[in-house]
């Protein structure tokens, strides 16, 4: 396994390199610069500012310099917040996004797997139709509809939670639901599909014949292979959870990295945009690796290739 992980990490390097290169030149192709929106800057000042940040050097040298800095773990100064570095900004805001993402993931897995199991217990009865109908509705309610809807019902009408903010434990509930329910719906469908395949197999009949309670059969014997399709979906879901957090952070006014990223793009804060993109790419790659490892651990027939 360690060699496998090592190889996968090595394979991730060219992908990251590609991401950095594409984004770096894409940003520079764009019209406007980090200081162009501040109207009344004398040309001399502008020149000095650009010189200060090295923006007057040839583009390719800037690119090489940036690559070198990134390799040393330095994402550079922010152009928009003169007193702060990108590393500081990310350290400030990333924990919030990470917490939100983990709650969302937990919601998705918890509700999704549970609904999938419930739907398998009595196939083609209301116990099956109800969770699956809910799942189809969940798939068709995107975050930016669900979030405002949840606020409308649970904070404006019922008054159970704060509409916005990220301070108390209660503030976590609505954003996590908003982020997680869409993926819960997919996971529920995949879990049900996986379980229904597994449940027809001989060893499940054996387990039942031994007289094991149905709950044990489902939770212990069927779930492990049955959850594999849902697990494979978690890789692509990670990217979705990240972009979903843009919307959730905007809707609920959460001081996370997603909101910071959209603002940075508007401000042409090149280094901050690049830093966040690199971080996202790293997160997606790591998460895909985790999912692949979990798949092999759960499925003894699969090996680390």
């Amino acid at each position: 396994m360690p060699t496998y992980i090592g190889r996968r990490l090595l394979e991730a390097l060219p992908v990251l390199f590609l991401v950095i290169t594409i984004c770096f030149f894409l940003l520079r192709l764009a019209p406007g610069g980090p200081f162009s929106h501040e109207v009344d800057i004398p040309a001399a000042t502008l020149e000095r500012m650009e010189a200060h940040y090295g923006l007057d050097r040839p583009l390719f040298l800037q690119y090489l310099g940036y690559l070198g800095n990134v390799a040393r773990g330095d994402l550079g100064p922010s152009y928009h917040y003169p007193t702060r570095t990108v590393n500081e900004i990310i350290l400030d805001h990333f924990p919030v996004s990470l917490e939100l993402g983990l709650w969302g993931l937990l919601t998705a897995l918890g509700i999704g797997v549970l609904a999938g199991i419930i739907a398998t217990i009595r196939p083609d009865t209301w116990l099956d139709y109800l969770p699956m109908g809910g799942a189809m509705a969940g798939i068709c309610l995107p975050t930016f509809v669900l979030g405002p809807l949840l606020i409308l019902v649970f904070s404006l009408w019922l008054g159970w939670f704060n509409a916005t903010g990220w301070n108390t434990a209660g503030d976590r509930v609505l954003p996590s639901l908003t982020l997680g329910l869409f993926y819960a719906a997919y996971i529920a469908r995949l879990t049900r599909g996986g379980l229904r395949e597994v449940i027809r197999q001989d060893y499940i009949r054996t387990a039942r014949a031994k007289g094991l309670p149905e709950a044990t059969v489902l939770a212990k014997h069927a779930l492990r292979p049955g959850i594999l399709p849902a697990l494979a979906f978690l890789g692509p879901a990670a990217a979705g959870l990240l972009s979903g957090s843009f919307v959730v952070e905007t809707v609920f006014h959460i001081p996370g990295l997603g909101r910071e990223f959209v603002n940075a793009a508007f401000n042409r804060d090149y280094t901050l945009v690049l830093g966040v993109v690199i971080l996202f790419a790293v997160m997606i790659l790591l998460f895909n690796l985790l999912v692949d490892i979990a798949q092999v651990l759960l499925n003894p027939r699969q090996r680390f290739e």
Binding site: A30, I139, C140, P142, V145, P148, L152, V251
Partner: protein, 297 residues
């Protein structure tokens, strides 16, 4: 009748006479959810096309600007927004834009995906593994981020929006087409055509792609809602379609900011959007069942 009895082997069922297309249509008709989706899509898209002409208001006109948001009533069927604009009119215009972007972006992704997948699967060998490795790498990139960057930096034109979305949504299509071509390539009729001297380009366009059409149609139906979702997402963040023009994502965003005083501004476009996605998904699922040649009854 006489011709039927003269058949040496009696047909297994009366359905055996139907052409493949007719058979698929019969199967689709039996799927109630898929048909409900199809009916809704036809109704909603014709409303979006015709609605703005029939409506007495324009999408940017503010007949009730002094009164703020007016709830649904006889004069404004779906009420007006906080700027006094007729919501029904804006919904139809928004639906037009969303459906248009959905179709055009899907067309872009369809073109790229089918070409890429077909070439990769047809070439096989080293070329194929190289091309598919590139797709794997692209899968790992945070694409939503790229769409956001493109919209921020290169202006918010509709054309750019659907090009950008189409350019990121082709990956799965390429994989599906490549898989189809790979398995079709090994079949006897392709071998026969090749032996008869058919050139590769014609082989691909006459024999391979038509046989992959089922999978392509199904996946296209499932791509449209994804694309519309992405468009609405970008518009929701304020980066897509620009006011005073409307799109479903923009309407939902507007509705979210004024939902306490005027909940219908959120509920109406939200519901319309959810129903559209619902319909496309059910129609796609139904088409998959109807076109899958492995299920013949």
């Amino acid at each position: 009748m006489t011709r039927e009895t003269s058949h040496p082997i009696a047909p297994a069922s009366p359905r055996a006479h139907l052409s493949p297309g007719r058979l698929a249509w019969e199967r689709l008709k039996a799927n109630r959810m898929a048909m409900a989706g199809l009916v809704f899509l036809i109704l909603f898209s014709s409303a979006c096309v015709v609605g703005p002409w029939l409506s007495p208001y324009a999408f940017h006109e503010q007949p009730r600007i002094a009164e703020g948001a007016v709830p649904p009533g006889a004069e404004h069927w779906l009420g007006t927004d906080h700027r006094g604009r007729d919501l029904a009119t804006r919904l139809f215009y928004g639906g037009r834009i969303s459906l248009l972007v959905g179709l055009l972006a899907t067309a872009v992704s369809l073109t790229i995906g089918v070409l890429y997948g077909a070439v990769s699967g047809f070439a096989g060998g080293k070329t194929d593994s190289l091309m598919m490795r590139a797709v794997d790498i692209l899968y790992a990139l945070p694409f939503t981020v790229f769409v956001i960057l493109l919209m921020v930096f290169f202006g918010r034109s509709l054309i750019l929006l659907f090009l950008a979305i189409g350019a990121v949504e082709w990956l799965t299509m390429a994989r599906i087409v490549r898989g189809q071509i790979l398995s079709l390539k090994a079949m006897a009729f392709v071998e026969a055509a090749r032996t008869l001297g058919q050139r590769p380009g014609r082989l691909l366009s006459r024999h391979l792609l038509p046989n992959a059409a089922g999978a392509i149609i199904v996946y296209t139906t499932l791509t449209i809602p994804n694309v519309m979702l992405l468009e609405a997402f970008v518009s929701f963040l304020g980066l897509g379609v620009q006011p005073p023009m409307s799109s479903l994502g923009l309407l939902i965003n507007d509705g979210a900011t004024s939902m306490e005083a005027a909940p219908w501004l959120l509920l109406v476009p939200g519901l319309a959007f959810a129903m559209t996605l619902f319909s496309f998904n059910f129609l796609g699922d139904g088409l998959r069942d109807a076109l899958d040649p492995r299920i013949r009854d």
